[in-house]
C-alpha cells in the first residue's frame, strides 16, 4: 500500500503530548476529549473529526466540500472511502463517501463530492453544509486501491456519482507522473450532471485518455451504455470500476469472459436497496450474527441468536434494561414495543424486542 499522506507523518504535537496517562487519570472517567472539545470542536485524541473549510456546488444536486481532518487521521490510499457522520435531528447518521483527493495532495484537506439521492436523508442534508461545520470521519477504508508498484496501463470506469474514487486514482496517477497510460471511461446522463467535467477536460489535456458517454444527450466520445467496443482494443489491463450495479455487472462480465476477473477491482456505488416491508408479515431474509447466519424465523433477534447457538448477554428480555444492545450494521428491524422501524445502518438496537424484516446483519 502506498504511503498514507494527508495528515500523516506530522511530529507529535501539543495534543499528542497531552494524551499522557496522567491526563487520562485527571480526566477520568470521561477522557480528555470531553474537555478539549470545549476549546475546539474538531479536537480529539481518539476520534477523527474534520472541519469543513470550503463548500461549492459544481453540478445540480451535488455539493463538493473540503474538510480538514484532525491529527487522529492516519491518511488514505487513492480510491478509499470514509464513513462521514453528521447529526441530523439530534441523531448521528453515517454514510460512506469516497475521498476525491490525490494521494500526493499536501494541503491537509480531503475533498468529497456528495450527490443528493432521492429520499437520501444524509446526502440531502449534506447539500446544506456550511464552512466551519465539524463532521465525524472514520479512518480511510476499502480495497478499491492501486497496487504498488503501479501497473503500466490502468483502466478506470465510472458511472454517475461513482466518479469520485476514480478521480482520486486518476489525480494520483497524474501527480505521480510515472509514465504508462491511463484510460478513463465515464458514463453520465448529461454533461451538466458531472461535477468534475472541467477536470476531466484537464486530465484529457494532460495525456489521460478520457472517453465519455452522456447517455441522455447521446453526446461524448462514446455512445450509449458500457459495451466491449468502448474499450477500443484494451484487452488485458487491470481495471477499476465504480458505479451503479448495471455498469459494474456489465464490466465484470466483459473482464470475466476475457478470463481476467482477477484484474478487476470493483466499488459498488449504490447501496443495496433496503428490503421492502412485506405486508403479510411473513418472515423473509437472512440474519447474520457476526459470521453465523440463520434464515429469519420472525422471532426477536435475541431468540434467533440463541437458536443459532450463540450466547449473547441479556437481562430483562422485554426492552427495559438495554443489556442485549448490539450494533446492527445493515437491514431493517421492527421494535415490538413501539412498532417503530429502524432502517439506519450502524445503529444500536435491543435484540430482545426487535424483529428482523428481510436481511439483517448484526456485528458481534
Amino acid at each position: 500500500m502506498p504511503a498514507a499522506t494527508v495528515g500523516a507523518g506530522r511530529p507529535r504535537g501539543l495534543l499528542a503530548s497531552l494524551t499522557t496517562p496522567l491526563l487520562d487519570v485527571l480526566t477520568y472517567p470521561h477522557g480528555p476529549d470531553r474537555y478539549l472539545e470545549m476549546l475546539d470542536p474538531a479536537w480529539s485524541t481518539r476520534q477523527v473529526r474534520a472541519e469543513i473549510t470550503d463548500v461549492c456546488h459544481r453540478a445540480p444536486g451535488t455539493v463538493t466540500v473540503l474538510a480538514r481532518p484532525n491529527r487522529v487521521w492516519r491518511g488514505f490510499s487513492a480510491g478509499q472511502h470514509v464513513q462521514l457522520s453528521v447529526d441530523i435531528e439530534g441523531a448521528r447518521r453515517s454514510r460512506c463517501y469516497s475521498i476525491v483527493t490525490s494521494e500526493q495532495d499536501r494541503s491537509g484537506r480531503l475533498e468529497f463530492t456528495v450527490h443528493a439521492e432521492p429520499d437520501g436523508l444524509v446526502s440531502n442534508h449534506l447539500q446544506q453544509l456550511r464552512p466551519g461545520t465539524v463532521v465525524g470521519l472514520s479512518q480511510a477504508q476499502g480495497p478499491f486501491t492501486l497496487p504498488s508498484p503501479r501497473p503500466e496501463h490502468v483502466v478506470l470506469i465510472s458511472g454517475g456519482s461513482g466518479i469520485t474514487p476514480v478521480m482520486s486514482i486518476a489525480r494520483t496517477l497524474r501527480d505521480e507522473d510515472r509514465g504508462g497510460s491511463v484510460t478513463l471511461l465515464h458514463y453520465a446522463r448529461t454533461a451538466a450532471d458531472v461535477a468534475y467535467r472541467e477536470e476531466l477536460d484537464e486530465l484529457a489535456a494532460s495525456g489521460v485518455r478520457v472517453l465519455r458517454s452522456y447517455t441522455r444527450e447521446g453526446s461524448g466520445e462514446l455512445s450509449g451504455h458500457f459495451c466491449a467496443e468502448h474499450l477500443a482494443g484494451i484487452t488485458d489491463a487491470p481495471a477499476w470500476v465504480s458505479g451503479p450495479a448495471t455498469l459494474v455487472e456489465g464490466v465484470r462480465e466483459h473482464w470475466s469472459t476475457a478470463g481476467l476477473e482477477a484484474e478487476l477491482t470493483v466499488e459498488h456505488f449504490t447501496p443495496p436497496a433496503p428490503a421492502p416491508i412485506p405486508d403479510d408479515g411473513a418472515p423473509t431474509g437472512e440474519v447474520s450474527f457476526g459470521d453465523r447466519a440463520v434464515s429469519n424465523s420472525g422471532a426477536p433477534l435475541l431468540e434467533q441468536a440463541e437458536v443459532a447457538g450463540l450466547e449473547l448477554p441479556y437481562g430483562c428480555r422485554r426492552g427495559i434494561c438495554f443489556s442485549c444492545t448490539q450494533r446492527k450494521t445493515s437491514g431493517t428491524v421492527r421494535y415490538r414495543t413501539s412498532g417503530a422501524l429502524s432502517t439506519e445502518p450502524d445503529s444500536d438496537i435491543q435484540l430482545c424486542v426487535t424483529v428482523p424484516i428481510g436481511d439483517v446483519t448484526i456485528d458481534l
Binding site: 496522567l22 485527571l26 472517567p29 435531528e89 439530534g90 441523531a91 437481562g315 438495554f322 444492545t325 417503530a340
Partner: protein, 376 residues
C-alpha cells in the same frame, strides 16, 4: 413502604389494567416519535454545564487555602458530580440517548464519576431493579440489602440499628452502591460463584482505584503545599453528592405509601400489570425545574419507572398525562415535597427497627434470599 395486602389499591379488572397499559404504550410511542434536536441539545447543554462546573471546582480547590475558594470549589465540584451521576450518568446508562448515536452519550460506553463501575451498576440497576421493581427478594434496591424499609423484610435483631445504618449509608453512599453492585451477598445464597464475584471485584477495584487516585492523590498533589485543602474539598464534594443521591433515591421507592410486591404477585404479569407495578412501586418528589435537574429527574420516579429509556427531560410533560390517567382509573399517584417524602422514609426506617413492628403480610415457607443474607 407498604405491602400490597396492607393497603389495597383500587381493584381494577384485567381489562382496565390492560387499557391503562395501552394508554402508557401510546404515550411512549408518541414521545419516541418526537425525539430529536431539542433532546440532543438539552443533554449536550447539561454536559457542558457539568464540565464547566467541574473545571471551576477543581481550579478553586487548587487554591483552597482561601476559604471562599474552598467553599466555592466544594460547591461547584459537588454540583458537577451530582449532575454527572444523576441527570447525565444514570439517564445515559439507561439508554435514554442511545438513539443519538453519540459514543460519548451511549449506554454501552458511558462511565460515570463515582466509584461503582458502569457495567456492574447497569446490571443491578437497569436489569434487576427496573425489571423486578419492589419485588421483595428480587429487587436488591429494597433497603440496599442493609436496611429494613418494608415490613415484608422479616425483622431480626440486626435491624435495631436501622436508623444508624441509614445515616452511615447516606454518608458513604457511593461505596454502598459499589458493594451492592458487586452482589457479594449472592455468594451466601449460592446465586453467584466465588469466581464471578472475584472477577467483578477486580473490575470494581480498578474503577474505585482510579476514582481515589484522581480525587485523593493526583489533584491534591497538583495543589502542592495546599494539598490538604484540595483533599478535604474533594472529600466534601463526594460526600455532598452521597447525601443528595441517597435522599433522592430513597424518596423514589421507600416512602410509606409506596408498595412492595411478592414474587407470586409479579409472576407472569402482562404489560398492563407491569406498568401498574411500576406505578405503585414509585413515588415522585415535587419541586422546581432546578430541583428536577439536580435530581436527574428522579423526582419523576414514577414516569422514570414507566418509561426508563425515554429522555428524562420529557418526564415533566409526561407526568401530566400519567397523573390524569391515574385519576381516571382510580390508581394512586404518590407524590409529595422532599421534606414530606424524606420524613416518611425516616419514619419507616425508625419504625421498622423496632421488634414489635409489623412483619411480612403472609407467612413464607422459605425466607427470601434477602433475609437469609441479613441473618448470616
Amino acid at each position: 413502604m407498604q405491602s400490597l395486602s396492607q393497603k389495597e389499591p383500587t381493584q381494577l379488572t384485567d381489562e382496565q389494567i390492560e387499557a391503562f397499559g395501552a394508554e402508557m404504550d401510546a404515550i411512549r410511542r408518541r414521545v419516541v416519535s418526537q425525539l430529536g434536536e431539542e433532546d440532543a441539545a438539552y443533554i449536550r447543554a447539561v454536559v457542558d454545564a457539568q464540565r464547566k462546573l467541574e473545571i471551576a471546582g477543581r481550579a478553586m480547590l487548587m487554591v483552597g487555602v482561601f476559604p471562599p475558594a474552598w467553599l466555592g470549589g466544594v460547591a461547584a465540584l459537588a454540583l458537577s458530580k451530582i449532575i454527572d451521576n444523576m441527570e447525565i450518568g444514570h439517564n445515559v446508562m439507561h439508554g435514554q440517548y442511545d438513539w443519538m448515536g453519540d459514543n460519548a452519550l451511549n449506554s454501552r460506553d458511558f462511565e460515570w464519576d463515582i466509584v461503582s463501575s458502569a457495567e456492574l451498576w447497569k446490571r443491578s440497576h437497569n436489569f434487576q431493579h427496573h425489571t423486578y421493581t419492589n419485588i421483595v427478594g428480587k429487587d436488591r434496591d429494597i433497603g440496599y440489602l442493609m436496611l429494613r424499609i418494608t415490613p415484608e423484610q422479616r425483622w431480626n435483631p440486626y435491624y435495631l440499628g436501622n436508623p444508624v445504618y441509614a445515616v452511615l449509608l447516606s454518608f458513604f453512599f457511593q461505596w454502598g452502591v459499589m458493594l451492592h453492585d458487586l452482589e457479594a451477598d449472592q455468594l451466601v445464597t449460592g446465586e453467584k460463584s466465588w469466581d464471578e464475584v472475584s472477577d467483578d471485584g477486580k473490575k470494581m477495584a480498578g474503577k474505585a482505584l482510579r476514582q481515589v487516585a484522581k480525587d485523593y492523590v493526583l489533584f491534591p498533589a497538583l495543589s502542592g503545599p495546599f494539598f490538604l485543602f484540595t483533599l478535604t474539598g474533594n472529600a466534601s464534594a463526594n460526600m455532598i453528592r452521597n447525601l443528595w443521591a441517597f435522599a433522592i433515591i430513597f424518596c423514589g421507592h421507600f416512602p410509606e405509601e409506596v408498595q412492595t410486591f411478592t414474587e407470586e404477585e409479579a409472576a407472569n404479569e402482562s404489560r398492563g400489570q407491569w406498568y401498574r407495578r411500576q406505578l405503585l412501586g414509585s413515588g415522585n418528589i415535587t419541586g422546581s425545574a432546578l430541583f428536577h435537574l439536580m435530581s436527574g429527574n428522579l423526582s419523576h420516579q414514577i414516569e422514570h419507572h414507566l418509561f426508563p429509556d425515554l429522555p428524562a427531560r420529557r418526564y415533566q410533560a409526561i407526568a401530566v398525562e400519567v397523573r390524569e390517567a391515574c385519576e381516571r382509573y382510580g390508581l394512586p399517584y404518590n407524590t409529595g415535597g422532599l421534606t414530606k417524602q424524606l420524613g416518611s422514609v425516616f419514619r419507616q426506617l425508625v419504625t421498622l427497627a423496632m421488634p414489635w413492628s409489623a412483619g411480612p403480610s403472609q407467612p413464607r415457607e422459605e425466607r427470601s434470599a434477602l433475609e437469609s443474607v441479613k441473618a448470616a
